[in-house]
Every structure is written in C-alpha cells, then in structure tokens.
C-alpha cells in the first residue's frame, strides 16, 4: 500500500465501490458455490440432513462408473461437433442478415425467430418433426431418396439429432458476427474490389480474419454451453436410447434429484468444471496464433 498516494488510494476505493455489485455477485454467486461444490463433492449427502465426509470416495466411484465415461464421451462428441457447426451456421446467418436489400429487416426477423423459442418448446416440436415415419424431416429427406432415419430412437443418430436441433439457436451468435462484420470499414472492401477480388476472396481474406475475435468469443461461450447440454436430452430422449444421449449434465441431474446422491453429483460437476476450464484456457492460449486484432 505504501506505493499508493492518498489520491490513488481514494480512486482505488471509488473504483472498487463502483464495481462492487459485480464483485459481490462474483463472490456470492460464482466463487462461493464453486468452492462449496468442491466441498460437497467430498461428502456423502442426500440433500437433506447431515453430510458425512468421505474424502475422495465419490471420485473413485465416479471413475469406476462406465456410465460416467459414456456421459463424458457423449458430451465431448456433442461439443466438438455442435460448436464448429454452430459457428458456420452463425456466419451464414450473419452474411444473410448483412445483405444490402430493402426488405432486410423482415429477413433478419425471420432468421432470428427460431432463437426466440425456448429450447423446451423446440424439443417438444422436434419430437414430432423427427418422427421416423410421419416426421417432416424424414419426409423432406425422403424426397431425395434418403432412407428412413430413426433420429431419436437410433443410438447412432440421437446425438446428431440434438446437434442439429442446437443450430436453431444460432441466432444470437449470428447477431454478434453481424455486428463484427459491420465494424469492418467498407474502404477495405472497396480497395479489394479495385484490385479485382472475388466475393469469396473478400470473405476469406478480409471478413473471416477480421471477425476472428468474435469467433474466439463464440468458441469459448459455445464450449461452456455445449458441455452443459441438458434440455433436449431431458425432454426428447431421457438420456436414451442406450444412454447415447446421457450427457454429463443429465447424469448429474439424475444422481442428484432421482437418486438423492448430491455429494456424488457435486463431484461430477467439479469434473465438468475442470474440463470446461481446461478447454477454455487452451483455446484462449491458442488464440494468439489465429485471432486477428488488426482492425479495431
């Protein structure tokens, strides 16, 4: 403290005061639950009554449970495919929203519409759309000669069905990409046009590099959301068929609320948190190789 002048100290205090709501929120709603969760993960606790300390036993049980590893596989499978696909879909949405036509507000509203519907409602609807024999999805694919796919009932397709469903929620990320695209000065494009660059070249060499900061943001957010995927599996498949959609979050939910194993569930959440943190940090580390902050 000796290095601060009185004035500096005062502004530090004012500054802290200004961010105190956020600080309080962080401490009370993030840091404390996080630490409490790790503590709970070391106990045998039904959610009621007293918790007994069991040390690392929950983690031992967890690693010995084949269903846990299946859940990890399912979750990583989902995240690895849903996040990149989500970026492609969001970029397409952003490009579509960025067209210079008069009726663009209408298109924007239409494109964004599915993102407003709650995942719950989308999932309910999808059960019908993905019906193997009466569903519109299969009907449409059938026009191109694709044989009947049992989207939600076949363990090979169930995760893919949920990955596809997630793309209906790409709207908000699309908006972020749109904002990033609009921030690119038109002079850059004008110069490229003068040099005779094609649309694809302009996209690949100008747009894409300049929206990489937004892509980085989306990957990190997407990983967080992807690892927590829960609602579609809870509504549409209950983790089935053959546990092919038992994601870690569903596994946690079942253990906590169906089987009253809160300590065990807390230990599982701890693992999920670590995976999430590791992935986020490594993506962030890698960003210096591919994220472009040139035009601000």
């Amino acid at each position: 403290m000796a290095n601060f002048s009185r004035r500096e100290l005062r502004s530090l205090f004012t500054g802290l005061l200004c961010v105190s709501p956020w600080l309080f929120g962080f401490l009370a709603f993030l840091l404390y639950p996080l630490l409490a969760n790790f503590q709970m993960g070391m106990t045998d606790y039904s959610g009621f009554g007293d918790a007994t300390w069991v040390g690392l036993k929950n983690y031992q049980d967890l690693f010995a449970d084949p269903l846990f590893w299946a859940a990890i596989y399912n979750t990583l499978f989902y995240t690895i495919f849903a996040v990149p696909l989500g970026i492609i879909v969001a970029i397409l949405i952003a490009i579509a929203m960025n067209q210079k036509v008069r009726e663009i507000p209408i298109y924007r509203a239409l494109i964004y519409l599915p993102s407003i519907a709650p995942t719950f409602a989308l999932s309910m609807m999808m059960i019908w759309l993905m019906n193997p024999r009466f569903g519109l999805v299969n009907y449409f694919l059938g026009l191109f000669g694709v044989p009947t796919i049992n989207w939600l009932g076949d363990p090979h397709w169930s995760k893919i069905a949920i990955i596809l469903l997630a793309q209906l929620g790409a709207g908000p990320i699309g908006l972020i990409f749109l904002a990033a695209m609009r921030a690119i000065p038109s002079t850059v494009y004008d110069a490229a046009s003068l040099d005779g660059a094609s649309s694809w070249k302009k996209f690949y060499h100008i747009t894409l590099p300049l929206i990489t900061p937004a892509i980085l943001y989306d990957i990190i957010i997407g990983i967080g959301l992807g690892l927590q995927i829960f609602v579609p599996a809870y509504i549409m498949t209950e983790g089935g068929p053959l546990n092919s959609t038992t994601f870690v979050a569903l596994y946690i939910y079942n253990n906590a609320f169906k089987y009253s194993r809160f300590g065990f569930a807390a230990a599982t959440s701890g693992i999920l948190f670590l995976i999430n943190a590791l992935l986020a940090i490594s993506i962030f580390r890698s960003s210096k190789f591919w994220v472009n902050y040139d035009v601000e």
Binding site: G49, N150, E238, L242, N243, K258, Y259, S260
Partner: protein, 431 residues
Amino acid sequence: MNRALLLVVCCCLNNVGAFGQTQIKFWYGSSTDPREEKGYQQLVTEFNQRDPKVQIRIEKVPGTETDAAKLMTAVRSGAGPDVYLLDRFTVAQRAASGLLKDLGPYLKKEGKELSQDYLDFAWKEVIYADKVFGLPIGTDTRALFYNKKMLRDAGIDLADFDPAKGPMSPERFKEIAFKLNKTDASGAYTQLGFVPWLEQGWGYSWGYAFGGEFFDPAQNKVTPTNPGVVAGYDFLYNWAKDLGPEKARTFVDTYWQWPSVGTLPEEQEPFLTGKVAMLLTGQWQLPIIKKYTPNLEYGVTYIPAPNGLKSSWSGGWSLVIPQGAKNPDAAFQFIRFITGAQGQEELAKVSGMFPTLKSLAGRKDLFPPEYEFFLSLLPVAQSRPPLPVGALYWDKLKDAEEAVITNSKKSQDALQAVAAEVQPQLDHFKK
C-alpha cells in the same frame, strides 16, 4: 395509489388466505393420470367445504414417478408443500434421504393403529426403518388387452384368450401375435400383433410373469439375475430378435413416441388406433377406451406366462408430508380424510383406482363391470420391493430392458450389470 394498495392487499390475501385460515399446499406431479387428478380435485373441494378454517390449495408441479426435483428444491428453499402425492414405491427412497416427515407422532396423537387397515403390500411400501412415512392411496393391476376384431380378422380363435383357461403359454401367444404383423412395401412394420415392451411391459411385468423375484429380503440383496427375471428378459430379447430390433424400434418410435412419458397424447395410443392388436397395461386403460374408441371390441385376459402362472403387479400412490411443511397437523388431517374410507371410495368411483383399504377391498359396486377382471387380479398381484434405492433400481432395470430389446446385450449380462450398480448403493443404507 389506492388501487395499487388494493392490489398488494389482494396479493397478500391470496398467499396467506383469509384471516384465521390455515392454508395447506397440496402438490401432485405432472404425470398424474387426468382422471385421478379429477378425483383429488373433487376431494379437495369437499374438504374445503367441510371446514372453512382449513383450506387446501391444490397445485400441479413438474414431477414424474422417479423424478422429484421440484419437490426437493422447494423443500430446501422453505417453499415446499404440506402434502405431496408420491409414487408409493419411492417412499422408502425419499424417506431414507431425509425428505419426508415421520408420521409416527401424528398417528400416535390420534391414537389409532392403522397398519391393519390397509392392504399389506401397500402398507409395507410406506414404511422405512420401521417408521411410517406416508399413507397409501390407490392401487392398480396389469393385464393383457386384446382387440377381438383384429384377431378374428387374422383368423385366430379367441378361445385361447378366455381367462377361464388361465394364462396362455408364451410360445402359443407369440405364434398368435406374429400372425398379425404387417409390413409395407419398404419392409417397415405398419402393424404388429404385440410389442411386449410397450406401455406397462416393464422388466417387472415379465420378470413376475416368468416367476421371478427382484429382491431377497433375507440377505438384503437385489436379485435381477434370478432365473425367472432372466427368463422374462430372454422373452423380450427373443421377441425383439424375431421382429428385427431396428425395425421394431422404428415402429415403436413412430407410433409410440420416444420416450413414453408424457409425449404421447393418450388418444393416439397404438392400441386405440389399431396399430397393435394387444397391449399389456393397467385398468386405467378402460376409461381411455371408453372415451376415445367406445366401439372398440376388446377383451382382457391374463398376462401370458409359462406353466399357467397367474401374474400381475400393483403400484399406487401415497400421501406424504415433506420436511418443512408449514401446517403438518392440518396436513395430516387432510391426508387421513383422503386415505380414509370416504375419500378412497369417492376417488375409486371417479378415477377407477382401487382402494388400499381392506374394508373397501371387496367392493365391486364401486366400479363399472369391466373392472372386475382387474379386481380379481389383486390377490395374485405382486409389488415392487420397497427399497431405499427404488428409483435407481427401476431406472437400471429399464436400461437393461433397452439393452435387451435392441439385442445389444444378452439378458444375463444386462441384468448382471444392474446388480453390480444397484447393490453397492443398497449396501450403503445398511449402516
């Protein structure tokens, strides 16, 4: 300003009730049968009229047989109900986790011994560690429904289905059922005689039908690998194999909708629409048929079983008081009313659920004549073992069933896995 004040006052009144009134929150899960729902609503109205001082507020909350997340979080946050309608076979589990109030003190205060009043199996289901955690309400039995017209059209003699002859052998039954299978040009099934895992075709149904036992009380061991249970699962395995597991699954997912809980409107059940000729289910199917397909020509008979074993199993509900209930005394009065003779009689009439009181057990007059066969099954019906791991055991048996009907595991292996996962959890409660 005045209007705002009035609004605030109204809101407060809505929450606490009129002055001097005791409000009781009664919750039931969203998967409750609509006719049972109606029965409870009627009883609540009646109770409220009897005593204006005690008012019951009935609310439907998210919740299924094994999922009580809403209840648990509400109780933890101090916003739980005073009375909850809990699937009876999970009482032991919820009691073991500390979610429920021990009703012993209230029973003691009333000075009445109720254990002899209720059907034995139902009473056992509400006991955990020698304490009473709920009062049993309603029970049911399961049997085989068959569509007479579809069977006749396929040239099948209905004599085999006569209950007087006892249960059909599984082999004969399969022979009949497979005659009704139809496919379209692409080879996909458009109609099946019977799908043993539809509706109530749980592992429990077939395990009991093949003479299996799911629990050994003497050793406190779950016994999913009991020979009878394995035989029941083998029956499912072979049935799926002969239909073609993939094709059968596409059929089921088309007409039944995955998963079965809550996503299929009851009027679209494949038995009503003639997609399957036979269905294993409970007596609650009777009012559904009456409502949507009153002209359906159907009959009811025993679940097919080897050696003429008459089998069925019973479930049912219980009314419990969760921890943290604001008015447990009044809640107990309400529970006693509903689970008592008057309450159960009315509920039986409205919902078709069988009473759990011995004094009402023989009362055929409470039900339309078509219920008689189901009532006659009560003496042979078994019930799921009331275990502190009831929900886990149920879910794992369901997993094993799925593995078997997709032919991805042999019955023995699938059931072995169930024992390996459930037994350690059960041992945990012995301390």
